[in-house]
Structure formats: C-alpha cells, structure tokens
C-alpha cells in the first residue's frame, strides 16, 4: 500500500488543495474588490493543480478512488501537506507572506518537476508554471508594498514573518517518499531549492525593508501526516457535506 509515487502525488495534491481552501476564505472579504478577485483567482489556479494531482493519484490507486474521495474522505493523519499551507490567514499581510513563501518555493519546485521522469507529474508542473509565475509576481509586489509602506503595515509584516517562519524549513526537508523517488529522477530534491529560494526572498525583502529572521525553531511533521490542530478545522468545514450526506452530488 505504501507506494512512494502515490504518497508523493498526494503530498503535491494536499499542499495545493489546503492552500486553495485557505485562500478561498478571502472570497468576498478581500481588502478591495480587485484584490478579492486576485486572491480567489489564485485559489482557483491552485485548486486546478490539486485536481490534476488527485486525478493522477486516483489512477495510481485504482479501485474506487476518485479525486473527490481523496479530497473529501481522507482523515487528518492521511494528509501530507506541509504545515505552512494550513496556517490561519490572519490579516492580509500574513496571507500575502504565506503566498509569497509558497509561490517562491512552488516556482522553483515546478521548474524542476516539469523535467521529472514521471510524465504526468511533469505535465501538471509544466502547465502550472506560468500561473505560478503570476502568483509569485503578485505576492512579491504586495510584500514590497506592505513592508515598505506605513509603520502599521511594516509592523504587521514583521509579525507575519515571526508567525510563519517556523514553517519554512519543512519545505526543504525530503520526506521518505521523496528520498525514495530521487534515484529514478521522479521527485525533486527539495533541499537543493533552498539557496535560490533564499536569494529571491532576500532580494524582495531588501526592497521591502524586511529581514529574514535568524535562529528560528523549525516545526515539521505535516509531510508525514502529523499536523497542527488547524488542519482539523479546515477538513471539518471542507468535508462536511460528504460526511453528512455521503455520495451527494451537485
């Protein structure tokens, strides 16, 4: 049952589903109309990636698995998303920073994944790369605008950095399933992405008059299914309909 390719595909799917779910909480609550539309569009893009990954995982799993059973009928411990994406939205600054941290990581990840020996993972990544480019551009601009904005917005970005930085390291640590897929050139070796990631963060933070914090205690476990309590609340809301009314359809 423990097939590393399935676990890896689910990890990629869960990362995107949970972040899409979080971002979609902004729908109709954005600071201005245009940005409300922007964050929900980004949410839709990422959800599309999640669907592509889940559909592939369902084929690999066979039996009765579908993209819906994978999203709606798995429990907390079965989700393999990194802890970063399940963190609460907080204010606009925190949501922006989480998106910037993640898009920067995702851009570097997909740049490599599009050359994966696994054709389907490569195709999903290649398809999504242009979209992620827009997400990274947009979130970078907002980090600069808020970091180098007013005293208030600058302070809020500092708070957001303090709250989110403990979840950064996990992005760059290979899980077992990633390690097992490295030799066949299927998975991306995430530790190898870190230097380029820091470079980009540093260049944007310089413009935003922000700093990367030092000596932060890293929190990990999400990629192995050990989550913060926040994931439970997300799943409770997201899975409610299928749990209460099994097999209901639109």
């Amino acid at each position: 049952m423990n097939d590393p390719l399935i676990d890896y595909t689910l990890h990629l799917a869960d990362n995107t589903l949970i972040l899409a779910q979080r971002n979609s909480e902004w729908c109709a609550h954005g600071p201005v109309l245009e940005q409300d539309i922007a964050i929900t569009n980004i949410s839709l893009d990422i959800l599309g990636q999640a669907r592509n990954f889940y559909q592939y995982a369902a084929i690999l799993l066979g039996d009765d698995a579908t993209e819906d059973t994978l999203a709606f009928l798995r429990d907390n411990r079965e989700f393999k998303n990194c802890l970063l994406v399940e963190q609460e939205n907080g204010d606009w600054g925190k949501t922006i920073l989480r998106q910037f941290i993640f898009s920067n990581y995702q851009y570097l990840l997909y740049e490599k994944l599009q050359h994966s020996k696994d054709e389907q993972l490569a195709a999903v990544a290649a398809k999504a790369l242009k979209e992620v480019t827009y997400h990274l551009q947009w979130s970078s601009e907002w980090v600069i605008r808020l970091g180098d904005g007013t005293d208030e917005s600058h302070q809020r970005m500092m708070n957001a950095i303090e709250e989110l930085w403990p979840y950064v390291d996990e992005l760059f640590i290979n899980a077992d399933y990633e390690n097992e897929l490295l030799a066949d050139n299927i998975a991306v070796d995430v530790p190898s992405l870190k230097n380029k990631w820091i470079e980009k963060i540093t260049s944007i933070f310089d413009e935003a008059t922000l700093q990367i914090p030092q000596n932060v205690f890293a929190k990990t476990g999400g990629k192995q299914g050990v989550h913060t309590e926040k994931l439970g609340y997300i799943l409770a809301e997201m899975q409610f309909m299928q749990r209460a009314y099994p097999n209901s359809v639109w």
């Binding site: 245009e34 839709l44 599309g48 490569a122 195709a123 990274l136 947009w138």
Partner: protein, 168 residues
C-alpha cells in the same frame, strides 16, 4: 479510402467549430486552440484530443459535455474525448479569427508577440490596445480579472474599463 477519411475528419472539425467557449461565447473551441487532434481509428472509432487553457479553468467540464452532445446530435456514437496537459496550451494557439472576434466582443486579445512573463515584481507594463477606441493609452488595474485568463485594464482616453486576455 484515404480521401473519405480526410473528408470525414474535415466534417468533424466543422462540427467542433460550433462548440462555443462557455465563458467567451463568441469564440469556438477551435478559435481557442483547445482541440489538438481529431483521429479516426481503424475500427472507425473517433478520438478527439483536447487540452485545457488554464489549469483551474472551470469551463473544461462544460466543454467536454458540449463536445459529447454535438457529436451525438450529429450521429456519432463511437468516440472518446481525451484530455491532455502536455504540451501546455499557450495564447499563441489562438487563431487570428479568434483574436478579431474577441476584440469585437470588447475583450483585448493577447499581444501577438508573447511578452515573456517573469517573476520580477513591478515590471514595465505591456502596451495593451483598448478594444473600444483603439488607444494605447491604457493602464493595468489588476492582473487578475473576471476570470483567471483575463486581466483588468482601464482606457485613459475613452475611460472605459476592459478585460485583456492575458498572454499565457
């Protein structure tokens, strides 16, 4: 025999031309470049290959269904619609006719020369022509518009807002 096959294929392309994009109904799925291939197998089975414009495009389910319906209406029963992601769709696949129809509909078509989009913040904006008055004196309001494939612009001359089908 070969000619018959060709004629049949052309007929199917013409049928598919009647399937409109649900978000931008003036465009057919052929104008958009969504249909990648029409194949007739040895057994007579028809295989149609389509590709999504955007990863999260909610229109794809509707497009799948519309193709199914139009084929059934035209008497085809033995067919398969295959979704592929690779090679990834690009706005360069949109036909010239499609771009003209977009403009007439009030949406600025994607720039002919794809401006390479990079991750850099605050890039110099592309000059986008207003579909209403043809002025290039326009400004970007938001990179994310009414749907994921469009950006929102404003014309500084006629003051009208408009959508731009962004390069992809």
């Amino acid at each position: 025999m070969v000619d018959e096959l060709k004629i049949e294929q052309q007929k199917i392309w013409r049928i598919l031309e009647t399937v409109a994009d649900p978000e931008v109904p003036v465009l057919s799925i052929i104008d958009l470049g969504i249909v990648r291939n029409v194949e007739i197998g040895a057994s007579g089975k028809l295989k149609i290959t389509i590709t999504p414009t955007y990863t999260g495009c909610p229109a794809m389910d509707v497009i799948n269904m519309s193709i199914r319906m139009v084929l059934l209406e035209n008497g085809f029963k033995n067919f398969e619609i295959k979704n592929v992601l690779s090679p990834a769709w690009t706005t360069e696949w949109m036909s010239e006719a499609g771009k003209q129809k977009l403009k007439a509909y009030g949406i600025a078509p994607p720039n002919p020369k794809q401006i390479v989009c990079t991750t850099d913040a605050f890039q110099e904006e592309e000059a986008i022509q207003c579909p209403h008055c043809n002025s290039y004196n326009t400004q970007l309001i938001s990179r994310f518009g009414s749907t994921a494939c469009k950006a929102l612009y404003k014309c500084n001359d006629c003051m009208e807002p408009f959508d731009y089908f962004k390069c992809h």
